[in-house]
């Protein structure tokens, strides 16, 4: 069928007079890492909300794995293989790190209406959870209560939970948000290591990460996709330069010019 794993067709969402998503037709090819960039207020959050099912578009369709998922609820999309990590840390604060991931692992099964066995003693849940924690660099802190972890550890946990459901596609919403230099490098390495196994839609501000990871980049400004292509194409795209250099509180212009 389509070469696109996730596709939007003329998506539109307006809040009163503010058109947050303006005729967005975006296609993510199977296996690629696709970055979505844009200045603050461009409408990335609204778009992500529609992709994950938390916001209903006013018009347009979304298809995933060949199916029209526009009317599907968030949980159903997750079950189809679309996993996400949140921009603002969204974990289960009272659970341990391992339990956080274990719960995501548990979601792989068709349902969880099992009332008897102690979930913390089911090896089929705990072992994959421990492995995932190792993979994202949280191997030693599985027992730590999530609410007590540092911000950087939260970002790692976010990623771990997204991976835990055995998804087909990852929607990563600013995984680098709030990370220091060391942590950013570690996260970047982590993302590079999983890149090949999943199709990824990456929303990021950190241009280093974007240019090093992304196969293709789309630029969202004022609710519209103004450009879409490879890193080089985007770097030299006149509209993109205007959109960014015209924005005062973004040093993207400098990033665009930096030697890579």
């Amino acid at each position: 069928m389509s070469e696109f794993l996730l596709e939007t067709h003329h998506l539109r969402k307006a809040f009163g007079a503010l058109v947050a998503t303006d005729d967005v037709s975006l296609g993510i090819r199977t296996g690629e890492t696709h970055a979505l960039i844009g200045p603050n207020g461009a409408g990335k959050t609204t778009l992500v909300g529609q992709l994950t099912g938390e916001l209903a578009p006013d018009a347009g369709r979304i298809s995933f794995r060949g199916r029209d998922i526009t009317a599907l609820a968030t949980a159903q999309r997750a079950r189809l293989g679309l996993a996400r990590s949140f921009q603002i840390t969204s974990i289960f604060p009272s659970f341990s790190a391992e339990s956080n991931v274990a719960l995501a692992v548990q979601a792989r099964k068709p349902h969880s209406f099992r009332f008897w066995r102690d979930a913390e003693r089911i090896p089929a849940l705990r072992r994959p959870a421990q492995k995932l924690l190792d993979d994202v660099g949280l191997g030693g802190v599985g027992d730590t209560i999530a609410a007590r972890m540092s911000h950087g550890q939260h970002r790692q946990l976010e990623l771990g939970m997204a991976l835990a459901t055995n998804p087909v596609m990852l929607l990563l919403d600013e995984p680098m948000a709030g990370l220091g230099l060391e942590e950013s490098r570690a996260m970047s390495k982590l993302l590079a290591s999983v890149k090949r196994q999943y199709t990824i839609l990456l929303i990021e501000h950190d241009m280093d990460v974007v240019f090093s990871l992304a196969d293709r980049i789309s630029v969202l400004v004022g609710g519209r996709i103004i450009a879409s292509g490879t890193a080089d194409e985007i770097r030299n795209h006149p509209d993109v330069r205007v959109a960014y250099l015209g924005e005062e509180d973004d040093d993207l212009g400098g990033d665009l010019d930096a030697d890579r």
């Binding site: 994950t52 289960f92 659970f95 792989r108 969880s112 939260h154």
Partner: protein, 336 residues
């Protein structure tokens, strides 16, 4: 398996007292202890929803009352065997819970509170309108149910039966809460948005726990009908729903044992103060306000800390229902 740390010992102590002391009580105190156990069970059902799922229900009294009415009516009709009447009462309350829950759970947050209150009120009016069953005055139940060949007319016997059922409910609830199902509802409590994003549709899970809690409340109601040999709409009032919530919070939510202690506290408070004044509510109201505004934990939480029985460091108090998507408490950007 039992985690017999200090907390387990504390529980055993309480259980031991509950088992060993009553033979020394007179009728009055035995009945008092029975009442604590019954309300404790009802409050526990509220905690399953509140502490473990993050659902604030102001309508649990409706399910408690439905259980009472069902058991009472069955007894009046001659179904006096507890092995028949009590499961039926549980079933009826679960059906009511299914009906109320299926509609209420479509709403969230404040709306949910108001909707559960409203539906409970509807059941209350329905009970009041049952002219054949005494209307607003209620009706007396001619006798207690009997457990097969065991008569429950004796107060001490009845107490131990109620206690055994309470212990059973606690153990079953413990299992449920720790099971995979329990993980999902606790996940929903912590962060419903995240639970959905991981692949758990919240509604079916919330509905199931709502029905389970309804069944437990119904059992408590059936026991109450037996205890008092009297059933009336007062057992369905929203005031009782609020009192159940108060018991949970006084005793410590999210603990299953806390609500029982909260029930004990509430009933003891009422009992002791009404010896001095009929207006004991005048003091209870502000006490509740004080607990909410000034104290961080309830009785069980205090007990656990006081005896150093914490074991693993307790998880930080989760401000539930947690704002969708955010760990931090105030986060205007998160959510919609």
């Amino acid at each position: 398996m039992a985690y017999l740390g200090r907390r387990g010992l504390l529980l055993l102590l309480l259980l031991g007292a509950a088992i060993a002391l009553p033979p020394y009580f007179g009728v009055y105190h035995t009945r008092f202890a029975t009442q604590i156990a019954i309300y404790g069970m009802a409050a526990l059902s509220v905690d399953l929803l509140l502490g473990y799922t993050g659902l604030i229900t102001f309508g649990q009294a409706a399910l408690f009352g439905v259980g009472a009415y069902a058991a009472g009516m069955l007894t009046v009709y001659g179904v006096t065997n507890a092995f028949v009447a009590w499961p039926l009462a549980i079933l009826v309350s679960m059906l009511f819970a299914l009906a109320i829950g299926s509609l209420s759970l479509r709403t969230r947050g404040f709306q949910f509170i108001m909707v559960t209150l409203a539906f409970a009120q509807m059941v209350y009016y329905f009970a009041q309108s049952l002219r054949n069953w005494g209307g607003d005055d209620g009706f007396t139940v001619p006798q207690r149910n009997h457990l097969g060949f065991v008569s429950l007319a004796d107060h001490t016997t009845f107490y131990y039966v109620v206690l055994a059922l309470l212990v059973l409910v606690v153990l079953l609830s413990q299992r449920i809460v720790k099971s995979e199902f329990g993980m999902v509802i606790r996940g929903i409590r912590d962060n419903e948005r995240r639970a959905a994003a991981v692949g758990f549709p919240p509604y079916p899970y919330k509905l199931v726990v709502f029905v389970i809690a309804g069944g437990i409340a119904g059992l408590a109601g059936a026991l109450m009908a037996n205890h008092a040999k009297f059933v009336s709409p007062a057992g369905l009032s929203w005031q009782l729903s609020g009192e159940l919530l108060a018991m949970v919070i006084l005793g410590s939510a999210n603990s299953l044992i806390g609500p029982i202690l909260g029930a004990a506290f509430f009933l003891a408070f009422r009992d002791v103060l009404s010896d001095f004044t009929e207006h004991w509510m005048l003091f209870f109201g502000p006490l509740l306000v004080a607990r909410v505004l000034l104290m961080k934990e309830g009785i069980w939480g205090l007990l656990v800390r006081a005896t150093g029985a914490e074991g693993k460091p307790a998880p930080p108090k989760v401000d539930f229902p947690v704002a969708s998507g955010a760990v931090a408490k105030s986060n205007p950007g998160a959510g919609r």
